[in-house]
Symmetry: C2
Subunit: 714 residues, 2 copies
Amino acid sequence: LSAQPPPITEDELDALRQVGRKWATAMDGRRRLPLDPTLRRRPEPPRPSRFGRFAPVEMFRPEAPDELVATESAVVPESSLGRALTGLRRVILGPPLDSAAVVHERMRKLVALPVLSADLLSSVAYGPEAMLGVLVLGGSAALGLSLPIAAVLVALMIAVGVSYRQTLRAYPHGAGSYIVAGDNLGARSGLAAAAGLMMDYVLTVSVSVSAGTDAITSALPMLHPWVRVIGPGMILVLLAGNLRGVRAAGNLFAAPTYAFVLAIALLLAFGIGQAGARGFVAVPPPPIPATEGIGILLVLRAFTSGASSMTGIEAVSNAVPVFQPVEWRNARTTLTWMISLLVVMFAGLTMLIHFDGVVPRPNQTVLSQLAHRTFPGGPVYGFIQASTALILLFAANTAFNDFPRLLFYLARDRYAPRGFLRIGDRLAFSNGIIVLGVVAAVIFVAFGGRTESLVPLYAVGVFLAFTLSQAGMVVHWWRRRGARWAHSLVLNALGALLSALVLVTAAVTKFTGGAWVVVLAIPLLILMASRIRRHYDIVHAALSVRPVSAVLPAPSRAAVTDPEHAATPQQVRHLIVVPVVRLDLGALRALAYAASLGQPLFAVHISTEEQEAQWFRQQWDAWGDHLRLEIIVSPYRAVVAPLAHYLKALRTLRPDLTLTVILPEIVVRHWWHQALHTHTALRLRRAFRPIPSVVITSVPIHVPDSAVQPSGRA
Amino acid sequence: LSAQPPPITEDELDALRQVGRKWATAMDGRRRLPLDPTLRRRPEPPRPSRFGRFAPVEMFRPEAPDELVATESAVVPESSLGRALTGLRRVILGPPLDSAAVVHERMRKLVALPVLSADLLSSVAYGPEAMLGVLVLGGSAALGLSLPIAAVLVALMIAVGVSYRQTLRAYPHGAGSYIVAGDNLGARSGLAAAAGLMMDYVLTVSVSVSAGTDAITSALPMLHPWVRVIGPGMILVLLAGNLRGVRAAGNLFAAPTYAFVLAIALLLAFGIGQAGARGFVAVPPPPIPATEGIGILLVLRAFTSGASSMTGIEAVSNAVPVFQPVEWRNARTTLTWMISLLVVMFAGLTMLIHFDGVVPRPNQTVLSQLAHRTFPGGPVYGFIQASTALILLFAANTAFNDFPRLLFYLARDRYAPRGFLRIGDRLAFSNGIIVLGVVAAVIFVAFGGRTESLVPLYAVGVFLAFTLSQAGMVVHWWRRRGARWAHSLVLNALGALLSALVLVTAAVTKFTGGAWVVVLAIPLLILMASRIRRHYDIVHAALSVRPVSAVLPAPSRAAVTDPEHAATPQQVRHLIVVPVVRLDLGALRALAYAASLGQPLFAVHISTEEQEAQWFRQQWDAWGDHLRLEIIVSPYRAVVAPLAHYLKALRTLRPDLTLTVILPEIVVRHWWHQALHTHTALRLRRAFRPIPSVVITSVPIHVPDSAVQPSGRA
């Protein structure tokens, strides 16, 4: 997982060699430099800079003959604003980490299990409740359907789990849906799986945070009005933590999951024990009037809502390489444990809900109600709620690891902006982390932090990824036909089929309930990714080096070369243009710089009135008219557009020339002084950028803070 | 009134001549250019560009031997966004106007009177009401005080008017308070007067618009809930109209004022006629309980509120040059008429209010009540309200002429940002107009469009300007002591004294009522103006040309020259640095460009890992290692800051060198593609800008919209 550039092909090296041969003649004996770029030969000992900090020379440590290593002090910008921001960031996120600090730790199964299953197991905190929340619309009578639906869900869990077991064996280096689907079904399917997973990760954060907030407010109802603060606050903590690149020991991450498993085990043991004491007679739920008829649609909706308990099942498949060897075998065992735990917890909770006659209530989660009944007002109740909130937070944290990694893979394949390749100074994929945090917070706020509104969006993305990944495995087994391929193919096909059924059911029955957002967003994401890839391909083609002969057909002037393809010094034919407003030191310096380059040059002055042109010519003549001067009178007082058009006109006359525009530019020390300058240089640069073969040179003049004698500065 | 640069002093020309002499040796016989910059010698007839528009060559018309004139088509930017914005602006504001279209029209007195007095006379629409609004706090009994207060105000009007008459004679070229106070009392007093006037202009717009809205809603009460839309809407219309640079005939501008004078004349004639029919017995006002005791403070507050009727008296003094000759004499006559009209209207309305027993009411102006009583429900009532609204709109329009002109004067004296010198493409001072419109709208909205809340802010700024301008005149007469100086001095001293009294009274009695805003803002504006002047003076000093000998003490290397003061080509000593990320066409082009300049150069590669450095060296060696390469390993993965520090380190080694950094830069065609690039070139440019003596060159590579064969483009 590194932003390493792709290996260089032999073709590329050949093209470089060919181009390089033409350079040899141009560069003979031109290696003499007026200073030593390794900074070794110093004329005098370096003085500390004005803040008593490192002198710039000392920020670099010589390494190989032509190599320097930048020390940590070289990372801090020089400007006071930049230094302040860097300082602030370091207080929050910690000092930057050396690339060498990346460690690839391996996890034992007993550590991997809790770390990887936080997302999956935490789902039982809201999955059964989401199912009941739909059923209750059919009145108290419909609640009885929860047991058969749960039975079907358990079967589905086992089938998908078994199916994933096959995947782990085939992709020991990481079996993310994006890779598996992309490998076997084509790039577009991979993108679809990635889009589904991205939606999944975003919703994991939103849903886990909202369910975690529910767990807290169920225990402490006075916090209820603060839901819209607690939720984004939790996301902010996760964001900051992940930007810090928390790499705390796996042991620490194991605790919340084990605590939650213990909490649910206690709840189930005592709860079912109490039910047994009553002779397993179910407490009838309070009478609730039906607002909807009990039909197949209601059952299917309840089923897909319950299926949200399965989110997070794919976590192991992404993480195979972190297991101890034999990786895939250990991962498979862990997966089996995870599924078993999930099945026991999910089935047990559904049964307990049934025995206790609990129904969803607005301000208290079903889990909290169960805990209340079983351990009325005791510390065990507090423990159950706290461990629920904690595991949900850790589940959200999982998404903060997976989402940026997925974006990294996409960016590496040029399907996502290159910025997601960047590893921040804390060795985290900062950009992906920030995007996830912001989008999840926006969704949380947009849905008012209501778990029941967020869950319907969930199933579509997850089951799309499941389906594509497992369908990809079917193709994989069919193509390879290695050992036991038929057995694996059948299991994966079953998994794919069941997942696809859930996917279609969820998309259809939940469409108006919110799933339309996801159904719409996924194709949009795929389209966007393809467009991004197309753009990068064009850029790559435009920037790839071709042998010189292909670029320069003949050395004749008749066949005009595009100066933007000049890859050797001989191909560059210069003309320098210096726009001048008045003949002050800035302008003279730009002219002196231009003239010292020894290439053909002329000056352009743009006047808004004939009178101003004469005023300028008076200065110009006093100076001695040493250069060709062209005056453009612009009676409509525009400066930028006419100059741009003039450059284009010059280009029409001689498209083979590289036009260099040299702009004097005033640099002020403080940003608040910038409002006092008209930024003509900036506006010119912006207008000239789109013109082909125009090179723009800024010759800055730095304005001091106070009027000093210039000869006093050295 | 033109943005003409100041005349060039002989010293400046001398410095240019001295610098120029050094150039002569450098530039011998270097005037040959590879093309004709006058665009005359064309290799082929120009083809129209892809939109069937002008080819760039045709946008310029040759004028003098070395001079081109940009036609209107050269003003339109090439980019589609720029073209769309320009098109939109032209639809709203009209096509650009040629500088030659400026005409300086002269006005007859009968035209000048209404045009210049709109601001002054419109004040009677809210002045008497503002006075009553304060008195009524003392209960019905206090209303009787309106007559003596009005009498004092009339005396004040006459005194200030007579005082201004003296000013016109002395400053026939325009006697704005900023100029008169600055000339005679020093720059700081001029700034104080300018600050007062600026507050006055802003408030004129806000108050006139709010009073105009009142006039409309009094007649059409159903519009009352829309006040917060109507007001900003009116300001928007004024803004757009003034940005169009409406130069409609004075005759048109005369109509509203005459209509308003006629309306008030009708009202007074019929109203006082009706009162006479009743035997001049005043109708007792409705009984109103007092909320405040009748004391000196209440009277003074009522007085200063009534004094808001005098705003606009200074309009003639700014406009002396627009009169027909003899300008100052005609201006003085016009001023006398204006004051007479004001006195008659103000006194008449106050009396009529007294006779009719009218008191301020929330949803109907006093003027509307008077009109209702005198002409119940007739067309004359409608005429009075309409002409009131109209003259108030024109009064606001006056500020849109005066405020930008004042800012222009300030900017010319370097007390305001240079942007206010700019004359827009409709020959209007667009920036000043926009600032006024925005600030006035913000104030209007902040005060909820309530005239009675805005009026207390008014008097301080106006009377500060009055006081300073007339105190300035006292000094003027004392210094000159020409004909009739003592007479003028006494009159001006009286005016200054009375104005100062009103100023102090207003500042003290209204301080808590809103005047504190103005009392605070004026010193802040003065401070800001001084700081701006200081910055411009520093810039001016930094950019002024000094004779070469002063810059370059000796041609020895030991005495290090600051490269930022190199005003001749001989002084420039080059070192070119080319940062390279990978060896693609963009990098090769930048290297080829750099090498073709024939100056010492080397390449820098920055790697985040040792491994990446090796990858790069593989490319570099394949190419042939034609240049010195320096590799910087940045283990903290920062690129921008270490490169900036490296440049600073090079500068420490050889402060006499001009370092040119050549950056390859990808230019994409659409802004939405920009998110896909990391903009390293842009960030580097921003980091390098503050480093002295570093020249930054962008060598762009333009990415096409689709992957074309590059050799197919010519």
